[in-house]
C-alpha cells in the first residue's frame, strides 16, 4: 500500500476571479452612468501629485477635482508606481492618467492626450552654493541625472550634445536623482521646471534652481487610451479645461501650486 497516493484533493481554492466587464462603446457615457471617474497617478510628483499627511494633494488633483465637478461625477484616484501607471491604463484598471505626462510625438501615437495643463519645459537644479553652475550651459562636462524614459531626459541629451558632451545618468525615479544630487554624485538634475522649483523651495539649504529653462517648449497633459471609446471623454475634459482658462480657475490653481500662472495653448500644440 502506498502512502503517497493522496493527490492533493484541495486544489479548488476559491480565487476571487471576475470576468472583465464587456467593452463599453463610450467611456464618457459609462462615467456619467456610474457617477464615478477613475484615475491612476503616482503621488510622488510634487507639486503636481503628492501625499501630504497621508492625503493626496497637488495641482493635478485640484485641477481634476474641478473637471470632475463640472462633469458632475466623483473622482477616484489610485496611487501606483510610475512604471505601473501606463500599463494600468492599457489594462483598463482606470479610465485616465491624471499624472502630468509630457506631450511628445511618440506618445501621441500611442495615447490620447488632453489639452495642456502645465508647462513642462526642462530646467536644472544644483546643490545650493555650487558656483560652477550659474547658467544651463555650465553643465558641459559635468554629471547630470534625469528620469529614465522622460521627455526631459531626451531634451537634456540633445542639449548636452550641443555643449560638447555631458555625463548623463538615468534614474528610475526623480526622487533617487535628488538623493544622489544631495549625496554629491551628481552635479545637477534635469527635469520639468515646476517640479525642480518645488524641490528647491522645500529644501533651499540643499537644492537651488538654475535659470533659464532650455530646449523646446514642452507641455504636460493627461492621457487616456487611444480609441473611439475615449474620444468623447477627452473632448468633454478639454471643454472644461478651456472654461477653466477663461474663468480664471486654471490661473488661480497654477498660482497656488507653481507660484506663477502661465499662458497655456488653447489647442493641441504641434510636436515633432
Amino acid at each position: 500500500m502506498n502512502i503517497y497516493s493522496f493527490k492533493g484533493a484541495v486544489l479548488g481554492l476559491g480565487l476571487a476571479v471576475f470576468a472583465a466587464g464587456s467593452a463599453a462603446a463610450d467611456m464618457l457615457a459609462d462615467i456619467k452612468a456610474s457617477g464615478e471617474m477613475t484615475f491612476g497617478t503616482e503621488m510622488h510628483y510634487a507639486p503636481f501629485d503628492l501625499l501630504v499627511n497621508g492625503q493626496y494633494e497637488g495641482l493635478c488633483k485640484d485641477l481634476m477635482d474641478e473637471v470632475t465637478k463640472d462633469l458632475g461625477v466623483t473622482p477616484k484616484y489610485n496611487d501606483l508606481p510610475w512604471t505601473s501607471v501606463l500599463p494600468g491604463l492599457e489594462a483598463g484598471k482606470f479610465q485616465m492618467v491624471n499624472a502630468p505626462v509630457t506631450i511628445t510625438a511618440e506618445r501621441m501615437e500611442r495615447y490620447a492626450f488632453t489639452l495642456p495643463i502645465a508647462d513642462a519645459s526642462v530646467g536644472l537644479i544644483k546643490r545650493t552654493g555650487d558656483d560652477r553652475i550659474t547658467k544651463p550651459e555650465d553643465i558641459a562636462g559635468l554629471v547630470v541625472g534625469s528620469q529614465k524614459g522622460s521627455a526631459q531626459l531626451e531634451q537634456l541629451k540633445v542639449f548636452g550634445e550641443g555643449l560638447g558632451g555631458i555625463d548623463v545618468r538615468e534614474y528610475s525615479s526623480v526622487d533617487e536623482a535628488y538623493a544622489d544630487l544631495a549625496a554629491g554624485r551628481l552635479d545637477a538634475v534635469a527635469g520639468s521646471f515646476p517640479l525642480l522649483g518645488y524641490a528647491a523651495s522645500k529644501r533651499p539649504e540643499i537644492f537651488e534652481t538654475v535659470t533659464p529653462v532650455f530646449g523646446e517648449k514642452k507641455y504636460f497633459a493627461w492621457v487616456a487610451v487611444k480609441s473611439e471609446e475615449t474620444e468623447s471623454m477627452i473632448a468633454a475634459v478639454n471643454e472644461i479645461l478651456l472654461n477653466m482658462q477663461d474663468d480664471g480657475r486654471m490661473a488661480k490653481l497654477h498660482e497656488k501650486w507653481l507660484g506663477t500662472a502661465v499662458e497655456l495653448p488653447r489647442e493641441m500644440p504641434a510636436v515633432k
Binding site: I3, Y4, F6, L50, G54, D79, K93, R203
Partner: protein, 215 residues
C-alpha cells in the same frame, strides 16, 4: 541635520501603511501554506504527470521574480479577460509564490519523518488521507517550523513589491513621504526600524511556538 521631527510627524502614516504590509504578508502566508501542502503532496505523488506538474510549478514560481508575477497577474490577465482586484492580485501572487518555497521546505521535512511511522499506520489499516493528516503533515510542519517562520519574515519583506499593483504598504508609503518631504534617509531609517520590530516579534513568536510543539 538628521531630522527627528520628520520621523515623528510621519510615523502615524507609516504605521497605517504597515497594516497593509501585515495583511498582505499574513494572508499570503496562509494561502502559501495551504497551497504548499497540496504541492508538496503532489510533488511526492507516484503518478508521474502529477509530480511533473508540481515540479514545473515550483521551478516557475521560484525562478521568476515576484515583481514580474505580480505585474503579469494584474496587467496581463485582464488582456485575456480575467480581472482581479488589487488586494487579491497581491495576496494571490505572494501566496502562489510562497507555496513553491513552502512545498520545498515541507518536502525536506517529510524526508526527516521516520518512514516506519507511516508504514506502521498503513499496516494498522489507516486510510492514506488520514496518514497524511494525522502523521505526516503535523510532524513535517513541526520539523520545518524554523524555516516556515523564516519564510514568513521573507514575505513581510517582499510584500513591499505589491505597491506595483497599487497597494500602499510600508515601503510605498515611505517613498511617498520622502518624495513630499525630500528627507528620504530619515523616513527609510524609520521604515527599517518598523520592519525590524515586526520581524523580531515574528522570530520570537516562532521560537515560542517551537518550544510548545516540543513534546
Amino acid at each position: 541635520m538628521f531630522s527627528w521631527s520628520t520621523i515623528v510627524e510621519n510615523l502615524p502614516y507609516l504605521l497605517q501603511a504597515t497594516r497593509f504590509t501585515l495583511l498582505v504578508s499574513g494572508l499570503g502566508m496562509g494561502l502559501g501554506l495551504v497551497m504548499g501542502i497540496v504541492l508538496c503532496v503532489a510533488r511526492l505523488s507516484p503518478i508521474r504527470w502529477i509530480s511533473r506538474i508540481a515540479a514545473l510549478y515550483v521551478s516557475f514560481f521560484r525562478g521568476v521574480p515576484l515583481l514580474v508575477q505580480l505585474l503579469l497577474a494584474y496587467y496581463f490577465l485582464p488582456s485575456v479577460g480575467i480581472d482581479i482586484p488589487p488586494l487579491w492580485a497581491a495576496v494571490c501572487s505572494i501566496g502562489l509564490c510562497a507555496a513553491a518555497y513552502i512545498a520545498e521546505i515541507l518536502r525536506g521535512a517529510l524526508i526527516a519523518v521516520p518512514h516506519g511511522q507511516a508504514e506502521a499506520a498503513a499496516a494498522l489499516g489507516m486510510h492514506p488521507f488520514t496518514i497524511w493528516k494525522r502523521i505526516l503533515i503535523p510532524q513535517a510542519l513541526k520539523i520545518s517550523m524554523p524555516s516556515l517562520v523564516n519564510e514568513l519574515i521573507m514575505l513581510v519583506k517582499v510584500s513591499s513589491l505589491v505597491s506595483a499593483v497599487g497597494i500602499v504598504e510600508l515601503t510605498r508609503m515611505s517613498q511617498s513621504i520622502s518624495a513630499a518631504t525630500f528627507r528620504p534617509l530619515e523616513i527609510y531609517i524609520a521604515a527599517a526600524a518598523i520592519y525590524l520590530v515586526i520581524n523580531l516579534a515574528l522570530a520570537g513568536l516562532g521560537q515560542a511556538l517551537e518550544k510548545r510543539l516540543d513534546y
